[in-house]
């Protein structure tokens, strides 16, 4: 019961974000998520790999300008569970597992349609209580073609892995 209340609260939080000028979900996941929650889902099922790519014009921080001379190809490489009425999902967050791999590349006149607002790219789920791992983006490059000269790479850890 407590868990359901928590998840519903999280959904309301997300809807509130969606309808304000704060981060907006980029894909249908959160809508599906909210719809599922209204049916009272409390468990997760089927742990699978759920990779995705989202390119951005380079930015290093929360509020800095989107660069025109460099871009980042972000490869999300972690696993996730799916919300379900029944079932169990054996996924954990692992401090040694990659979460996102970033390829910083040279670009020319990198253009974005979102220089300011952090937007929700993906939600991934793990653990028996369907905890959420949010992935946010800004300065998205709509063409998703950050393929210029490689400058350097970086990784972030603590990714979700199926057990």
């Amino acid at each position: 019961m407590k868990r359901t209340a928590f998840l519903v609260s999280a959904a309301v939080f997300l809807i509130a974000f969606t309808e304000s000028d704060q981060p907006v979900p980029l894909r249908a996941t959160s809508q599906e998520y909210v719809a599922t929650l209204s049916g009272g889902t409390t468990t997760c099922d089927r742990c699978v790999y759920d990779g995705a790519r989202q390119d951005e014009c380079f930015h290093a921080g929360q509020v800095d300008e989107c660069s025109t001379t460099a871009c980042i190809a972000n490869f999300l490489v972690e696993d996730t569970c799916f919300l379900s009425d029944i079932g169990s999902c054996y996924a954990i967050r692992d401090a040694s597992a990659d979460d996102v791999i970033h390829y910083k590349r040279a670009d020319s006149a990198c253009q974005t349609n979102n220089p300011n607002t952090w937007q929700l790219w993906k939600i991934h789920y793990y653990g028996g209580d369907c905890s959420m791992n949010y992935h946010w983006v800004r300065c998205q490059k709509p063409t998703n073609n950050c393929n210029g000269t490689l400058i350097s790479t970086a990784t972030t850890k603590n990714g979700i892995v199926c057990q």
Binding site: G51, T68, A73, T153, T156
Partner: protein, 325 residues
Amino acid sequence: MSTKRIGWLLWRFVCKVLPMFLFSGPVFAEELSVKDYLEAYDQAFLSAFTVTLQATYPTNAFDGMQGSSTATVTIASDGTQQALRLESSHLDPLVFNSARIGNQYDDAGNYTISHHKAEYVHLGADSWKTRTDFEHFTISPQNVVLKKTPASPLNAVHPKGHPDPANVLFRYLLPLGRGFAQLVDEVVSVEERPSGISIVRASGTLFSDQSGTWLLEVDTTRDYLVQTARFRRDGADYDSVVSPVSSAGTLGAEIPLYREGSFSIIPSYAVSVRLTDYTRQATMSLIHDVQEAVNAVGRRSTILDFGRIDGDGMPLVLRGVDLVE
């Protein structure tokens, strides 16, 4: 004299003689062989060598507040394959950066940052592979490094000819004056200076499929070493610049290399190198070790296969599988 003959002479004057006065003697592309020289020297150089150098570069390309890193880089080639090993040896003190992105901080608010502890590149006959061992640091708001996690590898498999692994290897050779022939497509013009320097303008690329224009200064008196190179990709408002330090001299009698140089890929990211050892023999043990390293995969290793890209441009991702063919 016929009208046809006069017209022909006029045409010759406009095409050949007039430009010589206007542009200090350019020569037309079809008459030039500077690209052939560059290719011949690069081919001879790559046929057998081992170099060891000190490289300095930004510790983290994603965080301009961090300082520089120094690494020992060893590269060997036997004519059919090239191998690189990079081992980080020094880091400027790391600092807490409060302006980064949310997932860069742990639950206690400490800043986490990754660093290339080691790198391996193998450009083999069939496939090109890389491995980067990332070390992750946790830094407190007081600039104290609280934790350094063991290096974890990221392996990548590329089809032969893919620009990324070539970039990671040749970025340390270009500042020494070699390796440009692969980047030049078509020579547009050459201006030969009395000093023996040839100014070459050419179309080409810089380790990507984005085309642009090269401006090379080739020292024909020093075995066609490239003493300066600028590349501007089409549509860009800045140059990538390779700047060997010709005043520091050269190393090697048969096929010389500059001793020092730098490569600025974008204005905010430059690699500086200093050559410490150069032999005209391939160190096969290094090639073998690198080959083993790029094929070694741990249980939590991530492997990106750029030979299998989906419709969204995402490489196939594998985890903890054996890469040995």
